[in-house]
Every structure is written in C-alpha cells, then in structure tokens.
Amino acid sequence: MIELLAATSPTSTGEAVAFWFLAPTAVVAAVMILLSRKAVHSALWMATTMIVLAVLFIMQGGIFLGVVQVVVYTGAVMMLFLFVLMLVGVDASDSFVETLRAQRVAGILLGAGFGVLLIAAVSRATFPEATGVGAANDAAGGHVEAIAEAIFTRYVFTFEVVSIVLITAAVGAMALTHRERLTPRRPQPELSVDRIRSAHPTPHPSPGVYAQHNAVDTPALLPDGTASEASVPDELRRQGTVRYTELEDARKQEDEDGEQG
C-alpha cells in the first residue's frame, strides 16, 4: 500500500519513476501559471501543480496531508480563486506589457539568483539518512493517529491560535465584502402583487415570436409588426447585441429619416 511504500524506504524505484514524472510536471505547470494570459488558465495550472504536490506529499508518507491538500487547496482555495475571477471579470486577459521599468528583468534575475542560492544551500547541507515517518506512525498506532496526537498535544496551542485566525479571517471577509442593504428586501408576495397591478401582468412575449428567427437575441414582433424590446433579455440589450429583423431595421431607418426630414 501507499503508506507502507512511503514509510519504509528512503527511495524505491517506483518512487523515483513517479518523481521524475511528477517533478517536471509541477515545474512546467508552475511556469505556465506565469505565462498564461488568462487568469483562469493560470488557476488551472495552479490546480495542476497543487494536485501534483499532493501526490508528492503522499509519496513521502503524508497521505493525510496529501488528501487535505486536495480538499483544502484544490477544492476550496482554488475554487475560491475561480469564483473571484469570475466575479471580477471573466474575460480580462492580462496585457504582458511591463509598466514598471526594469521590473521584469530585475525580478527574473533576482529570482534566478535566489534559486541558485537556495539550491547551493541545499546541496551544501548534509542531511541525515532518510528514515521515513513509519516509525513515528507506528509509535502512535497509525498515520492519522500520529498526526492527531501531534496536533492535539504538542501543537494544541498552535492549533487553537490557527483556528482563531481562521475564524477571524472568515468574519473579516464577511465584513469586507458585506454591503448594507439600503432598502428593505422586497418579498416575493409583494413583487407578485406589483406585477399583477402593473400594466403588464402577463409574461412578456418570448423572443422570436412571429419573427424570422427564433434565437434569443431576436425580439418578438407585436401584432402591428413592431419589435417588442421587452422580449429580449435585458443583458443582451445592455450589450447591444439585439438582432432586429430587416423589416424592423428598415422601419427604424425610416423613423430616423422622418425625424431628420
């Protein structure tokens, strides 16, 4: 099993194969985060990296952590990112023109330098013979039990603090994004009463009625042959993509001519 595999030896052939497949994937995905023009693509690459990292965690004996990584990061955090992306503008694809002078060059150079330093530091360090977490797991009677014991005994204070942070963050997010209602919410009964009392209690005509097309963006034609604006969704009217029939176009043209004449 996966746990047994990870817990026993420093490296098995299977792990090596998996690593040499996954590590380049992670790096490529990470680079693609930077290179993707659309933020949604970046988010997907990010999700890929995270899933790969989850597998790497599991390979190193952190099965709980790996699964939590998927649930928390891929499932919740990245989903939140996607949400916000869609809230703040779906089609915004970034321009890659750098506005700050020398920022990109300096950033990449510094980053490379930092990477070289980190790798140098790691390569100079001497590490103990990797023993794996098997012994620690066995001592507690299982992997989940070992993590639980560590969290709820040695790190219980940290745990409490972190939970406070989390709750505070949740409340803070609500406070930040909360918008006070200026007018009381109108309940459905009231709306329906208004609707019945209005001049037009029945539904608006569906788009395409009596028109030449039955697409959503084609307004219905009223009995007198004029187009009914109300039949087209508001959103389309806002976007200005309502498609009038040729007849209606001609009529509009006539009206404008008449006004000018």
């Binding site: 099993m1 998927v70 869609m86």
Partner: protein
C-alpha cells in the same frame, strides 16, 4: 465461510492484474447501472405521473437508454466560437473521470477468493478513504465551473457559478455529517467503518447525521428538488447549455455516477455497507455476510437511495436558490456542528467517565422533554399574544379587491358602509 485475511492485508497482497480487473469491473458496473438508472427513472417517474414511460426498445423498454446514448453520441458536436476551446473540451472530461475515482474506496463486500487469490471486494482502501472521496468530489466541481466559464455565454456562466457554490456549500454540511461517523467508528477507512457497524447501523445511532447527509447528498448531486444549476426556467440548461453530443453525454454520465457515488457512500457510512440487514445477518442466516452475498445487500441498499432520488424528483418542486443556500448555511451546517458537539460530548463522557450510555440517553431525554414542554408553553403564550394582534390587525373587508367575496375560515364579515337610507334590518343580515 469467512476468510481469515484482514482487508488491509488482503488488499496489500492483491496482484496488480487482479486490481486491474477490479477497476474494470467497477467501471462496467457503473456504466451499466447508469443505463438501468436512466431507464428506471423514466419508468418510475412515468408511473408517478400516470404515464407508461418508454416501452418500445427492448423488453419493458429496457434498451431505451442504450438507444438514446448511441443517438446522443452520433449527434453533431458543436463548439461555440466564443468558447475557450481547450477548457471547453477539458471540462466534461474532468467531470466524467473524477466521478469514477470515488468508487475506488467503496467496499462492495468482504474478503473473498477470486481465481484462488484472496482479496477484498474493493479496489483500494487507506486510512483517509472518506476524505479521499471528498477530495475527488471537490475536483469534480472543476468540471462544472470550467464548463460554465469556457462556454463564453451568460447562462452557462451563471449556472456554473451556481452549481459550484451549491456543491461547495453542501460539501461542508456533508463533511460535517461524516465527523460523527468518524467519532463512532474511530477511523476514516471505509472498510473499518463498515466493520464497525456490524452490530448497529450508524443511520440509527447517528440519525441526525444521516438525515443531514441525505439532504446534502441531494444538493451535492444537483438533483431535484435542488437542481437549481440547470433550472431551465431561469438558466436554460445551466452549465451545459452550450454542450452537445458526446460532451453533453459525459456530463450526463457524470451526474448519474455521482448519484451512485453518494448513494454508495451513504450505504457504506450509514447503512452498514455490504452487511446484511439486521434480522438476516446474525440470527436467521449465519452465512449472509460471507462470500459473494454481501454484494447483493450492497446493491440493494444502493438502489434504495437511487429510488429515493427518483421519488424526490417525481414529488417535489424546485426550491428557490436563496432559500436553498440559506437552508444549507443557516440550518444544515449549524445543526451539524451542534450534533457533532453532542456526539463528541457523549463519546468523551462515556469513554472517560465510564458513564453508561443508557444514563446519558435517559438524562438527555429528560432534558429534551423539559425543553420541549417549555417551548410548547412558550409557543402557547406567544401564540395567544400574536392571535390577539392578528384579530386587531386584519379586519376582513369583503370589498377590498373590488368584488364582494365571502369570508374565509377564521375571518368574520363586518358591516360595510351601506347607504344612509338602508334600514337596520339590512345591517343585521350583513352581520349574520
């Protein structure tokens, strides 16, 4: 005859080819079940609506699903121009692949002998299996969101957002309902959860958890009455509005397999998994839990839930979105938390202080009863006040809408202003 090997050992010693066969069997089982489910749904709903349902293709119309599937696959595959092509294709693939993954940890039965090899009737199992199911489900949400976004159209986007918000929200309630199960079984491994229910199903001792799970599993799978993401009156088809042909079929398949997944999870976590139902298991038939029989129990329990899905769809109208979210966040989650606190307390007390569970139940019951009585008295008092208010606030005016209408039960006709010349006798008639 029960075999001696434990599930973990049996799985550890399973050769790779056997695992491959198991995976294939699960895949086949799910696809076939989906076909059967589509047929069953159409037939059952038809019955509920006083119709006959499909009955032309094959005996009892059994092959209708297959025929529809082939037709669907052969339709023209349209990719909108505004779509983000790569993701548009990727989304249904994500949906359809992840939905199968969850079944890897569902135990269909105990350890059996296959081709001379002892193995458990589940593909794999590890210490955090149930979390794994949650993880896979949360990846499945990507399919919906990305499908909605990549279509480049308004309705799918809204549908995708809605469905992901819904799935995430109900996943919280779902995850919380698992906690009580973990507390009682002491494990997150599916096989151990099943084996810890050999005496009593968790659906009985953890009834609130079970009920919360059942509600949230319907929300999680976007099924009626919670099928808001594809509410056709508001959003046309939801996230898959722009999808057609095989890609639509993949979403379709994913939705049904997700139903099977949550049903299988409910069976495993709350209905004792593959273990025979109570009178069968122990006293009546000793061999009910041995060999291949448990697969039958498991499938039977699975289909109870599937029937429930159909039943719900045939019975309930769709909820309003805000009410639905309010229900999830303000009712299910707080209830879950409360229930977890109760379960944890009871567990801790009975573990630490060696207090009998019976005592806890008795004292808890008495407390609940007292609270109930207090609340009834309270309602009675409060209700009396509000009734008095109502009497004053809502006089019945028969002419309010322009037409004279008779009073409804509980309303009383009052004298209306009649012309000055009318006699007292008239008024009496009106009063009566």
């Amino acid at each position: 005859m029960r075999l001696e090997l434990s599930v973990t050992d049996a799985l550890a010693e399973t050769p790779w080819w056997l695992s491959a066969i198991k995976a294939l069997v699960i895949f086949g089982f799910l696809v076939v079940s989906t076909l059967v489910m589509i047929w069953a749904e159409r037939r059952v709903v038809a019955r509920m609506q006083q119709r006959v349902g499909p009955n032309r293709v094959g005996p009892f119309g059994l092959l209708q699903g297959l025929a529809d599937g082939i037709k669907l696959a052969l339709k023209e595959d349209i990719i909108p121009t505004a779509a983000d092509k790569a993701i548009f294709i990727l989304a249904p693939i994500i949906s359809a692949t992840t939905c199968f993954l969850a079944f890897a940890v569902i135990p269909f039965g105990p350890v059996v002998s296959v081709f001379g090899q002892e193995t458990a009737l589940q593909l794999t199992d590890f210490s955090v299996s149930v979390l794994y199911v949650l993880a896979v489900t949360s990846i499945g949400v990507y399919g919906l969101v990305l499908a909605g976004w990549s279509s480049g159209s308004t309705y799918p986007l809204l549908g995708g957002l809605r469905s992901s918000a819904q799935v995430i929200s109900y996943e919280i309630a779902m995850g919380l309902s698992f906690v009580a199960v973990f507390l009682y079984s002491g494990s997150m491994s599916t096989s151990e959860i099943v084996s810890s229910q050999d005496r009593l199903w968790f659906a009985i001792i953890l009834l609130p958890s079970f009920l919360i799970y059942v509600v949230s599993m319907v929300g999680e799978t976007n099924r009626a009455p919670f099928d808001l993401p594809e509410a056709e009156g508001e959003l046309v088809g939801g996230f898959h509005t722009e999808y057609s042909s095989l890609k639509f079929a993949l979403f379709f398949l994913a939705e049904y397999i997700n139903m099977f997944t949550v049903a299988a999870l409910a069976t495993t976590l709350f209905l004792g998994g593959w273990q025979a139902p109570w009178p069968l298991g122990g006293p009546i038939w000793g061999g009910a839990n041995d060999g291949w029989w448990p697969v039958l129990w498991f499938v039977a329990k699975l289909w109870i839930f599937m029937f429930m899905f159909i039943w719900l769809r045939g019975t309930l109208p769709r909820m309003r979105y805000d009410q639905f979210m309010k229900f999830g966040w303000k009712v299910l989650i707080p209830l879950s938390l409360l229930w977890i606190a109760v379960v944890a307390t009871v567990r801790a007390v009975s573990n630490e202080a060696s207090i009998d569970r019976q005592d806890i139940l008795i004292y808890g019951g008495v407390t609940l009863a007292i609270l109930l009585v207090i609340s009834i008295v309270w309602d009675y008092i409060a209700g009396r006040e509000s009734e008095q208010v109502d009497d004053v606030a809502m006089p019945f005016d028969p002419f309010s809408g322009g037409h004279p209408v008779p009073p409804l039960p509980g309303q009383q006709a009052v004298t209306v202003a009649v012309s000055a010349s009318s006699s007292d006798g008239d008024k009496e008639v009106l009063d009566a």
